[in-house]
């Protein structure tokens, strides 16, 4: 029995139904080849215009919604060390802890890594196209976890704003941490990065430990770059 749990699934069903209607109309036209009278033109307008447009619209929205999900990020195998750890209910990594929070849930990758400024959604999606390009040209033939590929890196350093959207730096419990209190102004200005302390190995330990993506299994001089330039 078909079960629809989300708007994305509803849109997918709507897109499929309108696509099937369009296909049936077009196949009918190709098989019967009726004269191009008024009624045929109207029916074809539905088959060639209205229904495909509905399919496109609903398909686009559901497609964009799907690209927010962690399973989509994990569909490129080089991301598996990141997504598998995030989905692991026994993991204590920052990514996993955040993913168990309902505010992040199945969209935890996007929630932490998306750009949030004006046009952020568009720039995030354009970066996604760059991901796809690099995946096809550089990582498609790498090992199960991306072994043999170049180290994966972010296009720009991880900004404190990604963290301070939720961790406002105003909460008393947060301020009681000595390092937070000592660097409060610098953290708010962005001079001290959250990931200077909460580094990539704490956020995505499996990606750093398995030796994939060209990384050494243990921390070495080559991957001990400043956390601000950490690539995860």
């Amino acid at each position: 029995m078909l079960k629809i749990d989300s708007t994305e699934q509803l849109l997918r069903v709507a897109a499929l139904v309108s696509a099937v209607i369009a296909v049936l109309i077009l196949i009918w036209y190709l098989l019967v080849r009726p004269p191009l009278g008024r009624s045929t033109k109207i029916v074809l307008l539905f088959g060639l215009g209205v229904m495909p447009l509905a399919t496109s619209l609903a398909g686009n929205i559901s497609g964009f919604e799907y690209t927010l999900q962690r399973s989509f990020c994990g569909s490129c195998h080089v991301m598996l060390p990141y997504t598998q750890d995030a989905a692991d209910p026994t993991s204590h990594s920052l990514a996993a802890i955040h993913s168990r929070n309902r505010a992040f849930g199945e969209e935890s990758c996007y929630t932490c890594h998306a750009d949030y400024q004006m046009f952020g959604t568009m720039t995030t999606k354009l970066n996604g196209l760059r991901h796809l390009y690099y995946y096809i040209t550089e990582y498609a033939n790498t090992g199960p976890y991306g072994e043999g590929g170049k180290p994966i890196h972010m296009y720009k350093p991880f900004q404190n704003a990604m963290c301070t959207r939720c961790h406002s730096t105003e909460a008393p419990r947060w301020g009681k941490v000595d390092d937070h209190a000592a660097a409060l102004d610098d953290i708010r200005k962005g001079d001290t990065k959250c990931i200077d302390c909460h580094s990539g190995e704490v956020i995505h330990p499996r990606a750093f430990a398995h030796g994939g993506n060209g990384r050494a299994p243990a921390r070495t001089a080559s991957n001990a770059a400043p956390a601000g330039a950490a690539k995860e």
Binding site: A19, G37, P52, T55, G63
Partner: protein, 78 residues
């Protein structure tokens, strides 16, 4: 000079129909098996072909409504 006949109009509709079927196939595939590459192809090529086929169909309708080919040797195909 290129002359528009009823056959031309029907061919336009036929091309439009086949192109739409191709674009729908891409869109359906991206909905049923949403992978990164398929989504990008469906959202770019699929929609380009879909839009192009609609334009072709509307062109065919406009030509037909303007009476092109009504007096050609094939006569009316309606």
């Amino acid at each position: 000079m290129f002359s528009v006949t009823k056959i031309t109009i029907r061919r336009l509709v036929l091309i439009s129909t086949i192109t739409t079927l191709a674009s729908l196939a891409l869109m359906i595939a991206s909905i049923l098996a949403p992978g990164p590459l398929l989504l990008v192809v469906a959202m770019s090529l699929g929609q380009f072909f879909g839009t192009a086929s609609l334009v072709l169909y509307l062109l065919a309708i406009v030509l037909d409504l303007q009476g092109y080919g009504e007096h050609d040797e094939f006569g009316s195909l309606d």
